[in-house]
Symmetry: C2
């Protein structure tokens, strides 16, 4: 049933995490959210590539072989349950350690996999989103920009804000007020036949679907994607606004404050590319 969940720790079905764990104590870890079709993780290589980048940045050993094996085990169980589409979160923590910030010299990372059955089919684009401008800005931190680590308080607070305000999503700016992303996805503007997206050198997460759009799906439509600093003026006057994430693929934006977008031809064409890549 949609919403049903399963959790594994280091390949074993569990319902709890041994303490202490540095993932809990300091957010000392990484994660990935994968879309699973049947028993098949989609675009796995891109998730593993980002995870490996994160491991290097945080000084974790390369855990990708273990992640691959444990993910296969999880997907086997998902198949048994008959879930057509599911979301799998892979969390990697630095594991146990003594008191204090300094991590163990030779950490033993833990892999936590949690799988949730999805209701939607991921075959049809979600209805355009009404988004707000978040009052919560990304922290400025070039050293960790692009990575999907466990320090995600800003997105939690921004998600709480848009949910409480009755919106579908929110645009998050950097400390300088430049639009960077939505809470759970990368942001794209269509401006005079070009697609623009934030460069993510100072903050933000480099999404797997973002790189697919940049490298494959936009070029397949004869469109280039430019990484440039965005501005609110550019966002508000864009011909089209949309965002990408791993579970939705792409989603058009219909409104931001007083601004409205009623047609989304580029986003729809990219969604067809995405749908083709799912099969």
């Amino acid at each position: 049933m949609p919403g049903d969940s399963l959790i594994w720790l280091d390949g074993v079905r569990v319902s709890s995490l041994p303490l202490p764990d540095r993932g809990l104590e300091f957010g000392d870890g990484l994660f990935e959210t994968l879309l699973i079709r049947g028993a098949q993780p989609l675009f796995l290589h891109l998730h593993l590539a980002r995870l490996l980048k994160g491991c290097t940045a945080l000084g974790f050993p390369d855990c990708n072989d273990a992640v691959r094996v444990q993910l296969q085990g999880a997907c086997g169980e998902i198949e048994t349950r008959g879930w057509a589409w599911s979301a799998v979160r892979v969390t990697l923590t630095r594991g146990a350690g003594p008191r204090g910030y300094a991590p163990p010299q030779r950490p033993t990372p833990r892999i936590i996999i949690s799988a949730t059955a999805l209701a939607h089919s991921s075959q049809d684009m979600a209805a355009p989103a009404a988004v707000m401008l978040s009052s919560v800005r990304w922290p400025s931190q070039p050293m960790l920009a692009g990575l999907k680590h466990l320090n995600r308080l800003e997105q939690v607070l921004a998600a709480r804000e848009y949910r409480d305000a009755g919106h579908d999503e929110a645009v998050m700016q950097d400390q300088q007020g430049r639009p960077v992303s939505v809470v759970a996805g990368n942001l794209f503007l269509v401006c005079d036949g070009r697609i623009l997206t934030a460069p993510l050198v100072d903050c933000g997460i480099a999404g797997t679907r973002r790189s697919l759009i940049m490298e494959y799906w936009a070029p397949a439509l004869g469109l280039a994607v430019d990484e440039v600093d965005l501005s609110m003026a550019r966002l508000e006057t864009a011909q089209e606004v949309f965002y990408s994430n791993s579970l939705l693929g792409l989603r058009a934006v219909s409104a931001l404050g007083p601004h409205r977008w009623s047609s989304h031809p580029v986003c729809e064409a990219l969604y067809q590319q995405y749908r083709g890549a799912l099969t």
Copy 2:
């Protein structure tokens, strides 16, 4: 024995945390590290005041009554064990929740208390610290500055760096290169008879011992503490450099790169104030 540990979840002795937990998933929570003498948490009101500020900022309910009760239970057990000095970490998470960044409308926070016996007596000042300048800078995030939340990756990476380099601590700068703190403590400079410390409006943690120094211990010596933006030049030419934290109290800095400080009269006098407040 020093290093021995005990863990409680919501007042019950445990060795694991139920999953899912948003503290692990997103660093969606707060913590405090308290020094315990016998069964007595020291300067508890300051820790609870900061925790409450954090709860307000993150949209948690006020958990201080429950923390107080559970801490009392933990300290009773600590007394039974005969630990003279111990460190207690109180971690507050937003608890369980459905998949995704948006927190539940009515979260049920979890309180995790972990106690570790300390070897040192906390009666004598630690030997002056040889510190390095960290390559890891604080993220810029005015909205969360001062709070002790669970997003602490920068300090983990900075602690790893100074530990691997054989130093005792490291000075961390903000994104503009201004010295803010050490990894686990607030930084103070003595310059021409004044004590200077960073204002923590953009990053950093507002330590409990920092506020005691500012409000009580420095004034008791006839010294004022000014919150001002620090610079590396000011640090390097200071007559004295020291830092504060909840387990050490205060500790003098003897070296930073080529710079040396051999006498620490202000830090030593403040330590006497601190020692007086412990009893």
